[in-house]
Symmetry: C2
Subunit: 338 residues, 2 copies
């Protein structure tokens, strides 16, 4: 039995992007620009600097060095969420996704004992997404996929995504849901950076709520879904949703299963930067549902992800679940597609 710590929330960016070869304008086809030194590059989207990144985004040796320092044995790799590019038409989406997925597969092949991969799918076209998902899972290299909390503003609990979730359940694909283009940006005052710091927690909460209220979790009890950033603000929505079901029987009937029971079917990463908050999430969702997540290698990443687990002061069984056991369950035994 593998016993090392698994980090389910890490991102990759390919070292470069192919030139646009589609039939559209290609304006939003990501482009890589040189950085200020050999370790940095800049991802340009729609002519704007999206983010300056380090070579840890694509260089497996540099990642392995960082993992040794942080005490992580295995990283679950997923695309930098902006790369999910739900704005593309189907042709461009498939071409771009293929490049990112090939990059992921290459990294796994280089170090299958240390990397698992979650690929990307064109969820703006759910039927097409199912086809790509089938190919990814058949390849034997992917444990599942990363998806955004919404697709061009439509929350993932919307009925239009039913075919995707049905297929993922059937194929046993792990799904990592990551905050993307958050709701409520018009309710934020100050620096544009707050979109991430203030917007992401609520965005995660809306997505999880939609999986519950839209019936996805009830209809597909076999799904293995993990939520980024500890589920964001969701744990503080849950008691009010329960109260709502208590006073509105029609609502309770429509949801069908108590919201807390559905919420406890999901996995959540530990990326909350606060031990008291981590303890509250464990109390809310159960110690079997939390997995290490760090957001490696971006600026905001948790550099010492084992520290909060130690600080909880639980027994060795709890510690093992949080470090390793829960992530193995989330991955469904497919750590590197084996």
């Amino acid at each position: 039995m593998m016993d090392g710590a698994i980090d389910i929330h890490t991102h990759i960016v390919p070292a470069d992007f192919p030139a646009y070869a589609g039939r559209g304008s290609g304006d939003r086809w990501p482009r890589m620009a040189a950085g200020h030194d050999c370790h940095h590059r800049s991802v340009m989207i729609d002519g704007n600097l999206f983010r300056t990144i380090t070579d840890e985004c694509w260089d497996t040796e540099r990642r392995l060095d960082a993992m040794r320092s942080a005490g992580i044995s295995r990283q679950v790799l997923s695309p930098m969420p902006e790369l999910l590019s739900y704005w593309f038409d189907p042709d461009d989406a498939v071409a771009f996704g293929q490049h990112v997925n090939d990059t992921l597969a290459g990294m796994v092949v280089r170090a299958p004992d240390h990397f698992s991969a979650l690929g990307m799918i064109p969820l703006q076209d759910p039927q097409l997404a199912c086809g790509v998902l089938e190919r990814l899972m058949a390849s034997g290299t992917f444990a599942g996929v990363e998806i955004g909390t919404n697709v061009n503003g439509v929350p993932i609990g919307d009925p239009k995504f039913e075919p995707f979730f049905a297929t993922a359940e059937q194929l046993g694909a792990a799904i990592f849901v990551h905050a993307l283009h958050p709701a409520g940006q018009d309710r934020i005052t100050g620096s544009p950076k707050l979109t991430n710091f203030v917007g992401f927690p609520c965005e995660n909460a809306f997505a999880i709520a939609s999986l519950i209220t839209g019936g996805i979790l009830r209809r597909h009890p076999g799904l293995r879904i993990a939520c980024s950033h500890g589920g964001g603000a969701f744990a503080l929505l849950l008691p009010r949703m329960e109260k709502g079901c208590g006073i509105a029987p029609d609502l309770a009937e429509a949801i069908g299963v108590p919201p807390r029971e559905l919420a406890r079917r999901l996995f959540y990463d530990t990326l909350v930067y606060d031990v008291a908050t981590l303890r509250f999430l464990i109390d809310t969702f159960g110690v079997e549902q939390l997995c290490i997540g760090t957001d490696f290698p971006f600026d905001i990443h948790e550099q010492a992800p084992l520290d909060p687990i130690r600080a909880l002061g639980g027994d060795e069984q709890q510690s093992w679940l949080l470090r390793t056991g829960n992530a193995l369950r989330f991955l469904g035994g497919r750590t590197a597609g084996n």
Copy 2:
């Protein structure tokens, strides 16, 4: 020293509304329709049923009966939030607000030992709002005002509301911030009722974040502000905001004071329907910052608000702070304008 329990989150609706006498269309001037029996009436706004309410909304004797049952000595009365009617032009806003504020004042005068009042102001016109606030506070009948989390979509931390907060600080007016017309409604899947149950927690969180990131709390340390629904999801945004300040020095500098320190200047009500959540809020904000809130007399109201305080199992000092002491500080010693 008053020792009874104080409920800072209760709402009123006048028994009736005057006919519209302004110069506009009056379409959104609230109208009261008969209910299915003598204890119920229906608030109509823009021709639609907004909510069927009970006579506990205006009948002080019926409120006092309910308070005795729940163990509450004093209710802080505020308008049903939809009545804040930020859609009105200045003339209509002043006329409508006058009617609601007169209703509040009448209820306080009937039982000043059991009711305090938070009035309404036309915050869609901040200068006009300052004038109304001055008159309310000069009347000796109001402890302060209730405001929404946003005014026609603009979060209350926006610089345009600076004059209001400066005046409130100067006059020592208590401010109760209540979730209203929440952000992210396009990210909710299912029943329209979820706007309240899923939308309110995030809406509260956005408003509190905006008070921090927009500088209102830093510039006005004397403000006494209480947030509805335990601050909604805000406690789960706070660690991420702190992390953001840690990695973005420009953001930390713009906010000026650590976000947690600013957050702990606010009061929060206990309306979270869950003892573990209440404990988490106390850990996050401090035991001196929580006050009983129930949402009386609406369907969602907490019927036994002292139970979760007992269930916390703290000492008598903690219990007194949560029941009474913190609310007295929020009210600034002005329980009924005395």
